[in-house]
C-alpha cells in the first residue's frame, strides 16, 4: 500500500512535468493545426540551454528560466516565420516533415556542440528529499511541479484574461472566422509557437534535473507527448494536463503493483477505451469539415 501511495504521488509530480511539455504541443496544434513532432527536441534544447548557464555560470536551473524562456520564445517565433508560415497547403502532413527536420537539425547541432555524452543538470538540492509519513519526496520533483503549476497558471491567465489570449482562442476555434473579424492569425500563430517553445524550455529544466539526457533523448519524449495530447483531445490545454496525470499515475502504479512490462499497456487500455467513447479525446472538440 505504501508503495502504491508513493507511486501515485510520484505520478502526479512527474505528470505535471509532462503536462507542461505537452501544453506547448497542444497549444501549437490548436492554433495552427500542425503537429509539432519537434517538441521533444525543443524540450531537450531547453535543457541544454539551462545546462550551459548551469555549467558555465553556475546559474540555478530554475532561475535560468528567466533567460531561457524568452530566448526560446524568440527562437520559436523565428522558426515559425521561416519554416511553418510558408506551409500554405496540406499543413497537417507537411508540418510533420518540417518539424521532424527541425528536430533532426536540433539533435545534430546539439550533438556537434555537446557530443552525445549524457549530462544532467546540477543543483545543490538535486538529491535532497524530505520525509512524508513513511516515504521520502524529492525537492526537485516538488519544485518542478510548482514551476509547472506556475507556468501553466500563467498560460491560462494569458489565454483567458488578455486580448492576445482571446485572439489565440479565437484562432483555435476557427482560423478563417478569426481572420474575418480582423485577427492577424499569422502574428497569433508566431506568438503561439513561441509560447509553445517557452513551455518546452520550462519542461526541459525539470526533465534535465530528473533525467540524464543527450541530444537523442527526444525520441522517447515525443512519442509520449503525442499520446498525451491524443488522450486529452488535440488542441485542449486542460485535456493535456489531465491526460498527462492519468498517464503517469497509471503507469507508475501499474509498474509497482503489477509489473513495469504492463505499465504502458495499462495506459493504452485507458487511451483506447476513451477514444472508443470519445473519439475526440477527453476535452477535444468534434470538428466537421466539408469534403
Amino acid at each position: 500500500m505504501k508503495l502504491v501511495v508513493e507511486a501515485a504521488v510520484l505520478g502526479v509530480l512527474t505528470g505535471g512535468v509532462y503536462a507542461l511539455m505537452a501544453s506547448g504541443l497542444t497549444l501549437i496544434f490548436g492554433v495552427m493545426r500542425i503537429i509539432n513532432v519537434g517538441q521533444g527536441a525543443l524540450v531537450i534544447l531547453g535543457a541544454y540551454l539551462t545546462f550551459v548557464l548551469n555549467r558555465s555560470w553556475h546559474v540555478d536551473p530554475f532561475l535560468g528560466l528567466v533567460l531561457t524562456m524568452p530566448l526560446m520564445f524568440a527562437l520559436g517565433v523565428l522558426l515559425q516565420l521561416v519554416f511553418i508560415r510558408p506551409l500554405r497547403t496540406d499543413r497537417e502532413a507537411l508540418s510533420v516533415l518540417v518539424t521532424y527536420a527541425i528536430a533532426l537539425g536540433i539533435e545534430g547541432a546539439l550533438g556537434y556542440v555537446f557530443t552525445t555524452n549524457y549530462v544532467q543538470l546540477r543543483a545543490w538540492y538535486e538529491n535532497a528529499s524530505f520525509p512524508v509519513f513513511s516515504f521520502r519526496i524529492t525537492y526537485v520533483y516538488v519544485l518542478g511541479f510548482v514551476v509547472c503549476l506556475g507556468v501553466l497558471g500563467t498560460l491560462f491567465l494569458l489565454l483567458y484574461r488578455t486580448t492576445l489570449g482571446g485572439a489565440i482562442r479565437a484562432t483555435m476555434l476557427n482560423r478563417t472566422a478569426a481572420q474575418l473579424i480582423g485577427i492577424d492569425v499569422d502574428r497569433v500563430s508566431a506568438i503561439a509557437f513561441g509560447i509553445g517553445m517557452a513551455t518546452a524550455a520550462a519542461g526541459g529544466v525539470v526533465f534535465g534535473l530528473t533525467n540524464a539526457f543527450n541530444p537523442g533523448s527526444h525520441y522517447d519524449l515525443i512519442s509520449r507527448l503525442l499520446t498525451i495530447i491524443v488522450l486529452g483531445g488535440l488542441g485542449s490545454l486542460r485535456g493535456a494536463i489531465i491526460a498527462a496525470l492519468i498517464m503517469l499515475v497509471t503507469e507508475d502504479i501499474t509498474a509497482v503493483v503489477v509489473s513495469p512490462v504492463w505499465a504502458s499497456f495499462a495506459f493504452f487500455v485507458i487511451l483506447v477505451a476513451v477514444l472508443i467513447i470519445r473519439p475526440q479525446g477527453l476535452y477535444g472538440v468534434r470538428v466537421r469539415e466539408r469534403i
Binding site: 508503495l3 505520478g11 503537429i35 533532426l104 539533435e107 552525445t116 525520441y219
Partner: protein, 405 residues
C-alpha cells in the same frame, strides 16, 4: 479533418523510425588497393552515446593500421552509416554497405539488440562479422559461423566474477538478500538472471526481481521498489540512463546497500561520473577493459586516444576499447590468413588466440569467446579500477560501499 490528422500522426510515427544513409563506392580488395570497411553505428536514438564511442575506437584503429602501412598493405577507410538505434535500419544499412557500397569488410554495431538482425544479413553475403558489443545468448542462438564477439567472455557470464566474489565473503559480511532489476534487453537480462540463479544456489535470498521494458523513460518507481526492498545488495541490468537514474533515486531515498553492480553505465567514464559526482564511489560494473590495464597495446591505445580525442583516461568509454579490439583481431587474422578475403578471415578467426587491448581472445565455432566471466571494476577515488579477481586487481574491493555523500 480527423482522418487527415490521424494520417499525419501515423506519418510522424513512421518518420520517427526512419533514417537516411549516404553511399559511396569502394574498390574490391585486390593487390594493395585501398579498401573501405563498413559499419552501421547509432549516431542518434538510445545508443547514440555508445555509437560515438565505437566510432572513436574504430577511427583510432584505422589511423594506427594505416600508419603502419595498412591492413596487409591496403589503406583503410572507414564508412559509417547511422542506424538511429533501430533494428530495421541496421539491416538496411549492412545490406546497402555490402551490395551498393561493396565494402571489403564489415565491423559490428552497438548492442546485442542491433547485432542480432544485422548478423543474419551479413552472414547471407558470406562476410565475416567481427563485432564489439553483441554478446547476449540470442546472438549465438542461430549458431552462425561468421560472427565473432570480440570481448573476453560471453555476456551471460559477465556477472559470474561478481557472484564468486560475493559468495567468497566471510559469512558474517556476506549480503543476506539481493534486489534485482533489469531491462528486458538481450544484453542485460541474461547476465542478471544468471547472477540470480548462482546467488540463490549460494544461499542468498532474492528480495525483489523486476524486469522492465528497454523503452522505459521513468525509472523512479522501479528504483523506489528496489529501495523499499531494503536488500543488502543490488544487481541492476542497465544501460547508461537508467544506471544513473537508479543511483540518483537511491541517494534521494537515503538507501545505502552494501554493494551495487550495474551491467553498463559505470564503465562509461565521465558520462557516468558527470551526473553523479562523488557518489560514484564504490559502484561496480563488470568490465573486460580498463584504462589502467597492461594488456597488449593498451597503454599505447590510451595514450593515442587521449592525443586524438583529448580528455582524461577516466573519460574513455570501454566501447572505444572494444571497437579498437575488433580492428586488432582482424589485423592479426588477416596477417595469419595472408588475405583479407572474408572466407579466409572467417577460417583464421576460428583458430588461434588474438591479442587485444582487452587481453587475449579466442573464439569457438559459433563466435563465442572462450573466456568465462570478466573482471569487476569499481569506482574508487574518482576513477574506475579493476578490483577482482585478485590477479588482475589494481586495488582491493571497497566493501561495504561508502554511504552516499
Amino acid at each position: 479533418m480527423r482522418n487527415r490528422i490521424g494520417f499525419a500522426i501515423a506519418g510522424a510515427a513512421l518518420v520517427l523510425s526512419a533514417c537516411g544513409t549516404g553511399a559511396a563506392s569502394s574498390p574490391s580488395p585486390q593487390s594493395t588497393e585501398p579498401i573501405t570497411i563498413g559499419v552501421s553505428l547509432s549516431f542518434s536514438g538510445d545508443f547514440s552515446g555508445d555509437g560515438k564511442a565505437l566510432q572513436q575506437g574504430y577511427d583510432l584503429w584505422a589511423q594506427d593500421v594505416n600508419a603502419k602501412g595498412g591492413l596487409l598493405g591496403h589503406h583503410v577507410t572507414m564508412k559509417y552509416v547511422d542506424d538511429a538505434s533501430s533494428t530495421q535500419q541496421v539491416v538496411s544499412n549492412y545490406q546497402s554497405l555490402i551490395t551498393q557500397d561493396k565494402v571489403a569488410l564489415v565491423f559490428g554495431p552497438f548492442s546485442s539488440l542491433l547485432t542480432i538482425p544485422a548478423s543474419t544479413v551479413v552472414d547471407r553475403y558470406g562476410y565475416a562479422f567481427p563485432e564489439p558489443a553483441g554478446g547476449g545468448p540470442q546472438v549465438f542462438a542461430r549458431k552462425l559461423h561468421s560472427i565473432f564477439f570480440v570481448q573476453p567472455a560471453t555476456v551471460e557470464d559477465n556477472l559470474v566474477s561478481y557472484t564468486k566474489w560475493l559468495l567468497a565473503l566471510p559469512a558474517s559480511q556476506r549480503p543476506q538478500s539481493v534486489a534485482y532489476a533489469t531491462q528486458d534487453d538481450p544484453f542485460t537480462q541474461p547476465q542478471v538472471d544468471r547472477a540470480k540463479s548462482l546467488l540463490e544456489a549460494g544461499g542468498i535470498t532474492t528480495a525483489s526481481y523486476k524486469v522492465y521494458p528497454a523503452e522505459t523513460t521513468d525509472f523512479t518507481p522501479l528504483a523506489l521498489q528496489v529501495a523499499n526492498s531494503k536488500a543488502d545488495a543490488v544487481i541492476l541490468g542497465t544501460q547508461l540512463p537508467d544506471a544513473i537514474a537508479f543511483v540518483k533515486t537511491f541517494i534521494q531515498q537515503h538507501y545505502n546497500p552494501k554493494t551495487i553492480i550495474e551491467t553498463t553505465g559505470p564503465d562509461q567514464g565521465s558520462s557516468f561520473s558527470g551526473p553523479l559526482g562523488a557518489n560514484t564511489e564504490g559502484i561496480m560494473v563488470p568490465a573486460g577493459w580498463t584504462a589502467a590495464a597492461k594488456a597488449y597495446g593498451n597503454p599505447t591505445f590510451v595514450q593515442k586516444f587521449l592525443a586524438k580525442f583529448g580528455g582524461s583516461a577516466g573519460d574513455i568509454s570501454a566501447d572505444a576499447a572494444e571497437a579498437y579490439s575488433v580492428g586488432q583481431v582482424v589485423d592479426q587474422a588477416a596477417t595469419k590468413a595472408g588475405s583479407i578475403d572474408n572466407k579466409k578471415l572467417i577460417d583464421a578467426l576460428h583458430s588461434g588466440t588474438y591479442q587485444t587491448v582487452q587481453g587475449p581472445i579466442s573464439f569457438d565455432s559459433i563466435g563465442q569467446p572462450h573466456g568465462v566471466g570478466v573482471y569487476i571494476e569499481q569506482w574508487q577515488g574518482g576513477s574506475a579500477l579493476f578490483v577482482y579477481p585478485p590477479q588482475a586487481a589494481l586495488a582491493k574491493p571497497e566493501y561495504p560501499k561508502p554511504t552516499w555523500q
